[in-house]
Amino acid sequence: MQAERATNWTRVTRFERQEPWDIDAPGPVRMALWQALATSSLVFGAWYIWWRWTASLNPDALWFSVPLVVAETMAFLGLVLFTVNLWTPRGPKPGILPVTLADTVDGSHGPDRPIIVDVFFATYNEDPELVRKGLIAAKALAYPHRITVKIHVLDDGRRPAMEAVARAEGVNYITRADNVGYKAGNLRNAMEQTVGDFIVICDADTIVFPDFLTETMGYFRDPRMAWVQTPQWFWDIPPGTPIWAAWRRRFGRVGAGLGHGLEWLFGPIRIGADPFANDPQMFYDFIQRRRNWANASFCCGAASIHRREAIMETAVRIWAERVARDTLADDSAAARLTGELVIFDAVRDSARMNRAREIDFTPFKLHVSEDIYTSIQMHSDRERRWRSVMHPKIVSRMMSPSDLLSWTIQRYKYAGGTLDILHNDNPLFRRGLSLPQKLMYAATFYSYLSPLWNVMFLIAPIIFLTTGIAPVATFSLEFFLHLIPFLLLNEMAQLAGLWGTSVMSGRRWYMAMFPVTLGALWAVLRGHRIAFRVTPKDRAAGRFLRLVRWQLVFCIAILASLAVGWIRFAQGEPGYSLGAIITNTLWSANNLMSLWVIIRAATWTPDPEFDLPVMEGYRDETA
């Protein structure tokens, strides 16, 4: 069936072909259009926000008006940061492939020799046979010059079966006695036992392509290049059920015909495609890649290659800074305790040595979001001025989360880890980061605060529809004349700037995942560990409605408020003008569509005819 589909590419999606996205390559005209529209959008947006604050508040309902306009203002600031992030795709280009180590470093580093690359496969409890596929692929890495590639399995699960697979494939097996530091600790342990000049990070399910090194090593001609991140492409994303097939099942041949007709008009229509919005095209090909010009693309873990020297130097620097800082604190404490004005050098040195022994040396920052945290540390190293780059070509593939529980846990950790960094080690105040870097990191961190105002956007139409109390002085033409130009220009800008990816899907999920991010934010503010509690019934259920209970509550509230609002409008009750009812109905419909994506994901099951062959295709793969 896949072979048949492959010949009819006009009506086959890339999920069905199991191919990655087309790399965005905007010409100067499209970029100019994007930048012009984006700038105009922000100007009109600022005008709208100014008008909202100065001329549109409802003085009889400031308790409602003010929170909403605050939410709109915060969302607008997020849009400004997003626009900065997406401004331009220009960035460094790879040089010619280095032949020996000397081609990748500055100055003398001893006798020249071929490059050594370590490939790390971090695993814990994944199927050893799954890891084996990655090991086989790693052994096929190609390079036109003499190079030593050493493959290592980093098993935090300490499993005999995993060791057996590693030995059978002729790769190194590394484990440790504890699991301190999660993956970061696992990587550190491996770094202590390996010597490669460069380190490729792989997850247990990562399959690197043979051209991984030939695509990435060229960047390391720049001796300041610390790491290269490549897209984490999920090749097993459920493609969904074609509409003609779904209607055929329901309505027979007539349904199939209608479905084909719709697809002839509008292109492939797939019901339930990518149910968890796992496809990361927007994130890698647009958001991350367009941070390259600011030297602010951050490491995302798997499918990246790192310069060992950069990791170790940064770790040493941070360790030394921390020892010095804590020693200074000890000095002050000792002075307060003893009343002495001056501490003897010998005493201070002794304290420093004790601190040096106590403080952990961590090449990868021991944090649930070690990737972004380590990136921030390297980017802020003003002395070495390390660089990073997001290479756009897909040179590996991975497997995607296939249920809402896995997805939720993953997103919760991302959110919690990032918010924890914002709360305890805010990069905006970090010395060493340039202004463009701070703006880029601000865009990332700020996006995780979005549920604070997204919740207001969910609540506002419900309040109006049920009470008739408007958050604005009037929903008249004046309101539309201020809002619509901004909205339209913003849409046109994103159409131009993000051509080729589904903007609406990202927006829906951005709104729909508010409970996950709010939960993470609450955990961070209370100083709790970032861990997602999983109950046994969650895993057993298969349908995860409990995970979307808040979205369900809002859906019911929205539907009820729509009914109430329209009934009251029909009865001519004061406050319900037609303009207001239309505005809030559209707003509610948009909210419903946003929440629906995650509710659908909670009840999603793969289509055995169309989804399972893609999702389970890896089982039939041979070396």
Binding site: T13, L495, M504, L586
Partner: protein, 139 residues
């Protein structure tokens, strides 16, 4: 292929843009109709041809008053016309002024509850007519 796949990816966004434009057009049209309705209510006499006399008009308006905003505005407009006429057809002009004052008060109460353009316009005309009447020397 890039253009086609780009169009497919942008389908939902294009529909959303169309919805924005469509809803704006609806609201603009509604506002236009609303203004037209106000203008019509103020300029057209629904009982035209029923009786040329203002007194007759007033009686008709009072008789068909259903308590709605439109009926109130029509009554106010008829009273305004009555006050503005130099010749007072009503044998009791003070009664007309008193009725106009009561109607103006009622208008102001309604306007306080909901800010309606039609009512505001009618109230402004009636208030102006009452003021003009105050300036005239009494017969």
């Amino acid at each position: 292929m890039k253009r086609r796949s780009g169009l497919q990816a942008a389908r939902e966004q294009i529909v959303w843009i169309a919805a924005l434009i469509g809803s704006t057009a609806i609201v603009v049209q509604l506002e236009r109709l609303d203004l037209q309705q106000v203008g019509t209510a103020l300029t057209e006499n629904p009982f035209i041809g029923s009786g040329p006399e203002v007194l007759t008009l007033l009686d008709q308006v009072r008789g068909t008053d259903d308590g709605s905003d439109l009926a109130l505005a029509q009554r106010a407009t008829a009273l305004t016309m009555g006050l503005m006429l130099d010749a007072r057809p009503d044998a009791r002009p003070d009664a007309l002024r008193a009725e106009a004052a009561r109607t103006l008060l009622l208008l102001e109460t309604r306007i306080a509850e909901r800010d309606d353009l039609l009512l505001r316009s009618a109230a402004a005309l009636l208030a102006a007519a009452l003021t003009v009447g105050d300036d005239r020397p009494s017969p």
